[in-house]
């Protein structure tokens, strides 16, 4: 095991997969010479050269579309969107093309490709650079959506995503790049897509979370333990495929659930998770499911206002206390 941050874990995954498979190529805005706006692609140009690591024009729709063509033509492209907010300029290629091509062409075209996109709020980047758009992709059949929380998962999931034959939206949280954790040394270490992980065992309530909200949920669980509440924290790791079994079984055992997501509340990931729990675990529940999610506003710039829009540890603690008090 080695300790490293998410940025280095992702960087390692990219290097390992590029060494392993010459069909892996990377492109995006400022990924080569500039080494990425978040430096995830540091050192790649030097090691792999400009045929495999390529700067593109600021043409997001074509960044994705060209990767689709490259994937159809026998490569495994990893396209980087500078931030997930710019995915909105590429939604035609992501939703109308990348997600549809296999199906509408009768299964005759595979698209082994990854779209990496940093996102999330908390850096005071205001309304156009702070979004959590995972719901958009999770809502679209044909896409896989990875949302790692830890350096080990970041590395393991990215390697799996690159090796997978489906298009994967790989959503990185900007505030996690410097977050540190233990990462296995084995260069063949991977994390399968579609398998959630119970990051903390508990008996009283299940907290379902992903990406940065997993870390906040673990902190909340720590605090709640001091007050005698035992929380189980399920980290989804991928939203598609969605590992329903792991969190549903956990909820059936604990009988209470809080679902946590950074995206906006209305029609957010939390809504899907809560509905899924109600549909499948209603008889096991001793309290209604609570959602903790982002406020339904465009992200404000001022830090005094921004902190109100993103779930905090105390919001998760309060939600857990609430479900502990409620009874059907």
């Amino acid at each position: 095991m080695a300790e490293m941050n998410c940025r280095d874990a992702l960087n390692l995954a990219l290097k390992e997969e590029m060494r392993r498979d010459p069909s892996v190529v990377i492109w995006g805005e400022d990924v080569a010479l500039y080494e990425g706006s978040f430096k995830v692609t540091r050192g790649l140009l030097a090691e792999f050269g400009e045929e495999r690591i390529k700067d593109t024009p600021i043409s997001e729709n074509s960044i994705i579309g060209a990767a689709i063509g490259a994937a159809m033509g026998g490569l495994r492209p990893v396209a980087e969107l500078m931030t997930v907010n710019f995915a909105l300029l590429a939604m035609d290629q992501i939703v109308n093309h990348m997600a549809k091509i296999r199906y509408m062409f009768g299964g005759k075209a595979g698209l082994p490709m990854v779209v990496r996109a940093p996102g999330g709020g908390g850096s005071q980047l205001a309304a156009q650079h702070s979004q959590s758009l995972e719901t958009y992709f999770m809502h679209c059949p044909g896409l896989y959506v990875a949302v790692p929380a830890t350096p080990a998962d970041a590395r393991g999931l990215l390697k799996s995503a690159i090796r997978d034959n489906n298009p994967v939206m790989f959503l990185e949280h900007e505030l996690l790049y410097n977050s540190r954790g233990e990462v296995p040394d084995d260069p063949e270490f991977t994390v399968p897509l579609g398998v959630a992980e119970i990051k903390r065992r508990g008996d009283d309530v299940t907290i379902v979370a992903y990406s940065r909200m997993t870390l906040l949920s673990l902190q909340a669980a720590e605090e709640l333990e001091k007050e005698g509440v035992s929380c189980e924290v399920v980290d989804l790791r991928t939203l598609a495929p969605l590992d329903r079994t792991t969190f549903l079984e956990s909820v059936k055992r604990t009988s209470r659930a809080v679902v946590v997501s950074e995206c906006c509340h209305t029609c957010g990931v939390g809504a899907e998770l809560a509905a899924c729990i109600f549909e499948n675990c209603f008889d096991s529940l001793t309290a209604p499911v609570r959602r903790v999610s982002g406020l339904d506003v465009p992200m404000p710039y001022s830090r005094r206002l921004e902190r109100l829009c993103i779930p905090r540890v105390e919001d998760i603690v309060a939600a857990v206390k609430n479900v502990m008090q409620q009874k059907y």
Partner: protein, 336 residues
């Protein structure tokens, strides 16, 4: 320059042009009939009038060259080698269709023929063609990507992104605009500040030319020359083929935005009878040979309709297949 047909191509190839154009016309007119009968549903965009482009262009390419197109693409797939039966079955939504009935008229696809798809979001195919060209170049394959599109697509951002990208990365892409003058009901001069589409590549330092899209030989020669240029230089090129669709944008379009006189004028330039006249005048074919070819095409299309009619519907459990890749699937088996 000797412009006689025999100076350009052997008789066999010239007759094949006629045969293919006739098959395309028969196929499309039969589609219209099947649509009226309710056998083909959804959107149906027919190619009648534009046959010289699909036939001439395909002949000017190497069979390995990738072809991408928009949603008026049945003839392009058929000329490339797709079985008319299987294409018709796709239009009927049957299990035996080219894409198992999941794509329909607008999404034909056969990678074994390097026919890389019909795309129904205007201009969606531009970046995909660019990416395929990158893959070919990266893999040191000797093939180019050919991207067909209509005059309506040139005001999409994708057109400009694609031209810039292909030139910037020096990728072998041949862009072929089928300018039939109308994006649905909007005439090109009402949508484009510069209606001479081929001139629009100057901002990207991409050579281009305009060709008579009603003349199969002119299209063949232009595309052959351009494809060789693209392959040799490893850079993009654009051809504007000026053509005309005899029918509306789709089956639901009565075409009131065009005067009957205009349509009649273009029908006088119908690429099929005009080419037939040249074949007869130059002694390459007799009226009988050509009539025989037309009859043969009609039989092929009748057989296609019969096959589609008799084919089974997809099973219900097929509906969730092909959303994701099955475990262990081989990617791009056609490249092996």
């Amino acid at each position: 320059m000797d412009t006689r047909l025999r100076a350009i191509l052997p008789d066999q190839q010239l007759l094949k042009f006629y045969e293919q154009m006739t098959l395309c016309r028969e196929f499309e007119e039969s589609c219209a009939e099947q649509y009226t009968k309710g056998h083909i549903t959804g959107f149906l965009h027919l190619y009648s009038g534009q046959e010289a482009v699909a036939v001439g262009a395909t002949a000017g390419l190497h069979p390995d060259d990738y072809i991408l197109s928009a949603y008026r693409e049945h003839p392009q797939a058929i000329v490339r080698g797709a079985d008319p039966k299987v294409v018709m079955a796709e239009l009927f939504g049957k299990a035996t269709g080219l894409c198992k009935g999941k794509g329909g008229s607008m999404h034909l696809f056969e990678p074994e023929l390097a026919f890389m798809g019909g795309y129904a979001i205007v201009g969606g195919q531009f970046p995909i063609a660019v990416g395929l060209a990158f893959a070919s170049k990266y893999r040191r394959e000797d093939r180019i990507s050919v991207c067909f599109f209509g005059d309506g697509a040139v005001n999409q951002g994708n057109f400009h992104e694609g031209l810039n990208w292909a030139r910037l990365w020096e990728l072998p892409v041949l862009f072929i605009c089928e300018n039939n003058f109308y994006g649905i009901g909007t005439e090109v001069r009402r949508s484009s500040a510069l209606a001479d589409i081929h001139k629009r590549t100057c901002g990207y330092d991409i050579p281009s030319e305009k060709v008579d899209g009603m003349d199969v030989i002119a299209v063949y020669q232009a595309v052959k020359h351009a494809a060789e240029w693209v392959s040799g230089h490893g850079r993009p090129y654009l051809i504007e083929a000026v053509t005309y669709r005899f029918r509306g944008h789709s089956m639901s379009d009565p075409g009131r935005y065009r005067s009957p006189a205009e349509v009649e004028l273009w029908k006088e330039r119908d690429p099929i009878p005009n080419f037939a006249r040249r074949l007869i005048d130059e002694g390459i074919a007799t009226e009988d040979t050509l009539a025989c070819m037309r009859a043969k095409a009609a039989v092929l299309v009748e057989e296609a309709v019969k096959f589609a009619e008799e084919s089974p519907w997809p099973e219900d459990d097929e509906v969730c297949n092909d959303v994701y890749a099955p475990v262990g699937e081989e990617v791009c088996p056609w490249l092996k």
